[in-house]
Symmetry: C2
Subunit: 188 residues, 2 copies
DNA sequence: TGTACATCAGTGAACGCGCGTTCACTGATGTAC
DNA sequence: TGTACATCAGTGAACGCGCGTTCACTGATGTAC
């Protein structure tokens, strides 16, 4: 049956949002169209009233995840006295390590995005935006250019969260986050 | 028909080696049992004469990839005058970015390993070994503990290669590698 | 040393399953008069 | 304002496909005598 246009648009957004979380948590290939529809309380057949294909949803969900990541970035820089420390404490925290669904899309999706050529633009834009903003907002040392330091920080943040999630030993996992945090906070 | 025991053992090793490369290049879930067998010049039915299940092959292939990664680490530290610089130049190179099949298993498999609890031990051991060896072999600055610096280096190396593979813009990709390299080489 | 037999790696057809996608159908919404 | 009709989001069965896995069978190898 037909539904109000507004309700349809809301459902469309809800599907993208759900997928953005599920893809981060379990990987893009591991999440089926049916599972996303089920999570939204619908049957799989309605999927193609909202998207042309799974690939279409994937692109939209990746862009949505990047948008959410960008917003989270902004809110964690809220401390005007030391935005860099606040940002690093938030990003390199055990909470962020364990909240994959709502966490930064880079440590959750970067490898899969690297393999599928289509959706690299959204991640490239996200990295550029993060680096530019870090250069402008944070205090940096005199060792090398600000931009080099911001790129090192980005690489280390992403790598540390990925490794902290992938190692077996909880104490090593926490050490990876803490050591990376200490080193990056100190370099200012 | 029956085959010489030696030949069988060779084939077994060859399957693990092929899988270790294919999993890194295309992801574990994306590589089928049939594809691995085909790459070895055999039919899929023989697979279960060598492994109990796909999961069994996955575990063996991850361990093999880590072993190969450890050997590559050793050989890239060959320059006795500046092993750290030689190591970083090798790891954070465009060649390493593009040679995924033969490259470090961490930037290729870390996220997938993070999702499947079973095979985290091999990656944890690999990180520990790399950090321990870096602490012992490289020259470090006085800013923070050697171990903290070695962990930052590891995080940044893994993150930089993953991001360099995942962004769309080739110049940004090269910049991520170069900037991370410059910052890590300088910190000694 | 020669013969008879058990072993088992490899083949290729077949299994059930879940995937992405399609389709005939439903029925409330939105539109035309 | 009321009536008639077109629209289209959603349902659930069905499609072909490739997956991991199983199985009856083959035949050279390895073993027992």
């Amino acid at each position: 049956m037909r539904y109000p246009a507004e309700e349809t648009a809301e459902k469309h957004e809800r599907l993208i949002n759900l997928a953005a979380g599920m893809f981060r948590e379990r990987g893009i290939d591991a999440v089926s169209v049916s599972e996303v529809m089920k999570a939204a309380g619908m049957t799989h057949g309605a999927f193609y009233s909202h998207f042309e294909s799974k690939d279409d949803l994937v692109s939209a969900a990746i862009r949505e995840a990047m948008k959410q990541g960008n917003e989270a970035l902004t809110s964690s820089m809220s401390d005007p006295a030391s935005p860099k420390t606040a940002f690093l404490n938030s990003y390199l925290s055990i909470m962020h390590r364990d909240m994959i669904k709502e966490g930064c899309p880079m440590p959750a999706l970067a490898i899969e995005i690297g393999r599928r050529c289509k959706d690299k633009t959204a991640l490239g834009d996200h990295v550029r935006r993060l680096v530019d903003r870090a250069v402008a907002s944070f205090r940096w040392s005199t060792r090398g250019s600000k931009r080099d330091q911001a790129i090192l920080m980005t690489s280390a943040m992403v790598g540390a969260v990925i490794l902290a999630r992938a190692v077996d030993d909880p104490s090593l996992s926490e050490e990876i986050l803490a050591a990376t945090r200490r080193q990056l906070v100190a370099s200012q």
